[in-house]
């Protein structure tokens, strides 16, 4: 199982090494990986449909409770099958769609990374690995959206999606931390047994807010939905795979997975219903105003995601059944429509819905696939979509609150969705073939077979719903709802309200399609509201933030070294003064201080003289020399108090500092007084206060009873454990070796920095960027 989940990571590491192979026609061979995984997961159906929950445990960091605990129940199996099944089709499709792209190997690498991350996420039973995989899906999505990295728009879209889903990720981590704290375990399946401890917990609201923000950003719910249409800048296989069929459903998965723990609470249900409801109506309405095929599909995807969240919010078993069915329905028809869009774009070079028509004459199999997808999307019998829509309507009708209102919302959404599916799946193929497309021909089989398979699957499940029912839908629902009533998926329920609603949906939708044509006027009309849209608001916030950052940086990083020093010293002075006079009462006892020896007095006199000389000297070089003298005097003090290591280091460092100063200052122009008297007095006062405070602090520290435990530990153990007699050195290379390791890395970085600053000559081109 571990190998199955991580196989994509392995491929992602191999692809750059064997780039040439994966760019050639052999790239199609990679399809075997998701296909094998799909078959592998299919083999678990018998066990899971019997109600078994399979656990696979692999240790990773057991000391911190982070392990690869994989859990396979109905819900994760449903997602795993979707990820690998659609994955296999997308891999196949990609090998033809992107066959001339020089970055095909990279593309497969990212795609495999994503597939593994997604599989890992839906299988994880451990909060930490769930979080890691969740973030990995965001990261791989970033690379895939920005795959065309020379295009500014796609870079921007990638950044927006990364920022939003990353924001959600932070909240997820916070939510997980609280949950783990309350239950005392990182394992989800163990939490499930802990019962209702969350619902009365004071932190319940905080937890669900965290979860909601994570799920809503990932699954593009209003008002975070705007990254998804932008993400359509990605190549079509990515839009199909990540941004309609799988990744955007990660948020749905998260909510579904934690429904037994956190659900069935008024805040939980109502929030999901309201947010999901707004999203589904809002996005469905937008989808009918767009002309670009991919945009239409993007908004209808957002709408479908809203529908799923909405169904989760309804919170009764029937709604969960509807949700599980709708996940499958949506994945199948949306993948078909996206793949078709990709082919149309590939062959005709346009995605403008008003320019495409009559293509059935040259692409019959594709027209059939599109027609089948539309059947399922609009819920026309005998498709699986019809089964799904009936379930949705009966779920909304049986809701305890506002049944009529939410049913109307669902019907309206479905009418819009039907309209947009007609636009995407029928419009390009119906009518007359424009002369410019006479020479358009069928693409390679690797491109048209995948959408056809998806389209046919949507019908097969519709005619034989029992195929899906026991095997996957029922186990999936039982993972969400504690008790699942006996149910049977059927195509025909007899004449009832639900059938009436379906009929209304279909008739009104088709009428709308006949009457209403999307054109630029509608778009222009929508654009008037653009400044209120969440996207513009987010952009505004972003701009403000940038402005603030610039102002703040200019304030602190003003480029004057003396101001930096002044800021640091003043801040420290205030902090110390506050500490010294409020928190602890100053308690200085001079009696403990040992008497001065004559040598010390001599050093002290030299020190004071050289300090004064450094301050008053009119020559820069003389001041530097005086500073050197001060350094050496301090070395002497160290020697007096038996710290030879410190003295040696201080001595060498001081020597080098003086040399460095000399090198830099030697070339400077002649010494000029830049400051007036007032500034010098100000500086003197600040330095005096600071010096006094440090002195007081030193005396205060001397008075505190020192804790000799650390010293004793090193003294006792440095020879016993590390075989060294020089404690300072033993600490450096052994006890705190990791610190030293990091310190030398820091040193190296600073050397690199100096070298880069002084030696790197940017040419004109680089400077402009």
């Amino acid at each position: 199982m571990l190998l199955a989940v991580l196989s994509g990571f392995i491929i992602a590491t191999i692809t750059p090494l064997a780039g040439k192979l994966f760019r050639s026609k052999w790239s199609v061979g990679l399809t075997a990986v998701p296909l094998a995984l799909f078959i592998y997961f299919l083999s678990f159906i018998p066990a899971v449909s019997n109600g078994q929950v399979l656990l696979f445990n692999y240790e990773w960091v057991p000391s911190m409770g982070i392990n690869f605990n994989f859990l396979l129940d109905g819900l994760s199996l449903l997602f795993a099958l979707m990820i690998t099944g659609i994955g296999a089709l997308v891999y196949l499709y990609t090998s033809s769609y992107m066959k001339d792209d020089p970055g095909l190997d990279k593309f497969y690498g990212y795609l495999s990374l994503f597939m593994s991350a997604m599989l890992g996420m839906v299988m994880s039973d451990n909060l930490f690995t769930l979080f890691i995989f969740w973030e990995l899906t965001s990261i791989s999505s970033f690379f895939l959206i920005g795959f065309d990295n020379e295009n500014k728009e796609s870079r921007k879209a990638a950044l927006i999606s990364m920022a939003l889903t990353g924001l959600g990720g932070f909240f997820l981590l916070a939510g997980f931390a609280i949950v783990a704290n309350i239950t005392g375990t990182y394992t989800i399946s163990e939490m499930m047994g802990s019962g209702d401890i969350f619902k009365d917990h004071p932190l319940y609201i905080v937890i669900i807010i965290c979860f909601f923000l994570a799920a809503f950003t990932k699954s593009a719910q209003f008002p975070f939905h705007f990254w998804l249409p932008g993400a359509m800048k990605a190549p079509t296989p990515v839009s199909t795979y990540l941004h309609s069929a799988t990744m955007v459903k990660a948020g749905i998965y998260l909510l579904a997975r934690f429904t037994p723990l956190l659900g069935d609470h008024i805040y939980w249900n109502n929030t999901l219903m309201i947010v999901g409801g707004i999203t589904m109506v809002y996005a469905a309405f937008h989808s009918i105003l767009k002309k670009d095929l991919k945009e239409i599909l993007a908004y209808s995807t957002i709408s479908a995601l809203g529908m799923l969240v909405f169904l989760l919010g309804l919170g009764h078993a029937e709604a969960f059944i509807a949700m599980a069915v709708f996940i499958v329905v949506h994945a199948l028809y949306k993948a078909t429509l996206f793949l078709i869009t990709g082919i149309l774009d590939h062959e005709t070079g346009t995605r403008d819905i008003n320019r495409l028509s009559g293509l059935r004459k040259v692409m019959m199999p594709l027209a059939i696939a599109g027609f089948l997808a539309v059947l399922s999307n609009s819920g026309i019998p005998p498709s699986f979509g019809f089964v799904g829509k009936d379930l949705i309507y009966s779920a909304t009708l049986h809701s305890e609150t506002l049944a009529i209102f939410i049913t109307v919302a669902a019907v309206v959404t479905n009418i819009f969705l039907l309209y947009s599916s007609f636009l995407a799946g029928i419009k390009p193929f119906a009518g007359k073939l424009p002369s410019e497309y006479k020479d358009v021909h069928m693409p390679d089989w690797r491109m048209w077979v995948p959408p056809l398979i998806c389209g046919i699957a949507g019908i097969v499940f519709g005619i034989f719903p029992m195929l899906a029912e026991g095997s996957i839908i029922r186990p999936a629902v039982s993972a969400i709802a504690p008790e699942v009533p006996e149910f049977h998926l059927q195509l025909w329920h007899g004449f009832n309200t639900v059938l009436g609603l379906s009929a209304i949906t279909i008739i009104v939708g088709i009428l709308l399609y006949v009457i209403f044509k999307p054109n630029d006027r509608h778009n222009a009309w929508m654009n008037k509201f653009e400044s209120f849209s969440p996207k513009s608001i987010a952009a505004g916030v972003n701009k403000l933030f940038m402005k603030f950052a610039v102002t703040w940086t200019n304030l602190l990083q003003n480029g004057y070294l003396r101001i930096y020093v002044l800021t640091v010293i003043s801040f420290l002075t205030i902090l110390l003064a506050y500490k010294a006079f409020t928190v602890s009462s100053l308690d200085i006892n001079l009696t403990k201080i040992s008497a001065l020896t004559s040598a010390e007095v001599a050093v002290m006199v030299i020190l004071i003289v050289s300090v004064l000389y450094a301050v008053y000297s009119p020559s820069r070089l003389a001041a530097i020399a005086a500073m050197g003298v001060i350094g050496y005097c301090i070395c002497l003090v160290f020697i007096f108090y038996s710290a030879p290591d410190l003295a040696m280091t201080q001595f060498t460092i001081d020597t080098l500092t003086v040399i460095l100063f000399l090198l830099v200052m030697y070339r400077l122009p002649k010494y000029v007084l830049y400051t007036n008297k007032l500034i010098r007095i100000r500086d003197a006062i600040i330095s005096l206060i600071f010096g006094t405070l440090i002195t007081l602090l030193a005396l205060e520290v001397h008075h505190e009873p020192t804790n000799k435990e650390t010293t004793r530990f090193y003294a006792e153990n440095s020879y016993a454990l590390a075989k060294g007699k020089n404690i300072v050195n033993v600490i450096l290379v052994d006890f705190r070796g990791m610190d030293t390791m990091i310190e030398i890395i820091v040193l190296s970085i600073s050397a690199l920095g100096v070298f880069a600053l002084l030696k790197l000559q940017l040419n004109e081109f680089d400077r402009e960027i």
Binding site: G737, A751, V754
Partner: protein, 136 residues
Amino acid sequence: MKQLIFRTATGFLLPLLLLFSVFILLRGHYLPGGGFVGGLIAAIAFVLHAFAFTLKETRKLIKINYRLLIPIGLALAFFSAILPMFKGLPILTGLWVYEPLPVVDMVGSSLLFDTGVYLVVVGVTLTIIFTISESA
């Protein structure tokens, strides 16, 4: 600074200082010293030479690119850190050869680590000082 005395003295001082720096490095585990101080002393030796002659002469003297000392030192320190992991011990555990040598006394992986520190310090100090003096 083209004084004859200074130059002649440097000719003797350079090897002496370098030897001294290695000595300081090796005795570090038992007596005052160690890789950090040792590295600084070695760096000072070269800087002294650069002052007495010219930077070009010092470069010729060092022969290899002194900037290379940084990655070499880092690699050495890192290698000594992960060495115990091959024996199944936690990272940075000290490994020892149980045969005392003169001056160094017992040799362990911490000496290797300290040598890494020494090389990094020499490399960093020379890089910074030489880069600055070249472009000043």
